[in-house]
């Protein structure tokens, strides 16, 4: 169809009106009858090749999920070796303990310093009552016979260095 010369009959249109008409019309349609437009174009976009690579990514995730929950047989060679090692270790321990306890033991052979160290380290806790009980029937405690004069007492105290014992007791 050839473009005909339109008689405007003196009427004028704003500058560039026809050039911008489509854009204006489109905007108008969107605003006025937006509900009637059936379109899937809602402004959302998807990264390039997203749908092309989706299956691959999904498969990787499925495989990953399978790896996370592997079914391992309790009778696998690795487990048997581990369990055998643990069992052997327990057996050796059981064997060692009675042998150690069974060795001849003599209190006489223990040095006094070792016992003191043992007690000082806190490995044995004895209350005053426990100690008193030990001496309940003890007759071996030294008894003071006769009159104890002041000179003898001072001599004893100076020799025994009783200050440390008092401080320890406190």
């Amino acid at each position: 169809m050839n473009k005909k010369k339109i008689n405007t009959a003196g009427f004028e249109v704003p500058k560039d009106y026809f050039q911008n008409f489509e854009a204006q019309l489109e905007q108008k349609i969107k605003q006025e009858s937006i509900i009637d437009i059936q379109t899937s174009s809602n402004g959302f976009q998807v990264p390039d090749n997203y749908f092309d690579t989706f299956e691959k990514v999904l498969q990787e995730r499925i495989d990953e999920g399978k790896k996370k929950t592997p079914i391992i047989s309790i009778f696998s060679r690795r487990n048997i070796v581990s369990f055998s090692a643990i069992a052997a270790a327990i057996l050796i321990l059981i064997m060692i303990i009675p042998v150690k306890n069974g060795t001849s033991f003599d209190f006489e052979k223990i040095a006094i310093s070792d016992i003191q160290e043992y007690i000082e380290d806190g490995d044995v806790t004895l209350s005053d009552t426990d100690i008193a009980a030990l001496f309940e029937n003890e007759n071996s405690l030294p008894t003071i016979e006769g009159n104890l004069n002041n000179d003898t007492l001072f001599e004893y105290l100076s020799e025994e260095n009783i200050e440390n014992d008092i401080l320890d007791f406190e």
Binding site: Q27, Q38, N42, G43, F44, Q45, E55, L58, R61
Partner: protein, 181 residues
Amino acid sequence: MDIQEEKLLKSLTSDTCLNTAFNQLVAMYKERLYWHIRNMVKSHEDTNDVLQNVFIKVYKNIKKFKGESKLYSWLYRIATNESITFLNQRAKKYNISSEELQLQLVENLKADTYFQGDEVQLKLQQAIASLPNKQQQVFNMKYFQDLKYSEISSILETSEGALKASYHIASKKIEAYIKGL
């Protein structure tokens, strides 16, 4: 259930054909489910996560599908439920209501690289976000995905009459929202 769907379902329940049939299923439905989820969760990254979860769930449960409903409606139902679960979790995480979350999601679109909608499209999203959840779902499925009422009915398990009413009400609310701006 048509013959093609029946054949696909048979392959999906067979151990030997499962992987091939599953790939076929993914190829058939990935885009449709993507847009279904995208309209609900809005961002591409979240949609991608939900979509993958949907297909993983389908993969794990395909043998439990008895064929009582159509395959597509079963898939759409899983996608809908996964999206709702995702949105609820997100709302709980941020300690906000689902309505506040909807508005927040639309607000995020302004800075979203994968949203190139114009002002009108953004207003439309804001209007949709102001609707109750059920009306949003119906509107998105009808308006953006152009699903039939019978299809939406089988997905949402709601009568066609109720869906038509929901869509009508949703349309009116959106129209009023946009004109009121």
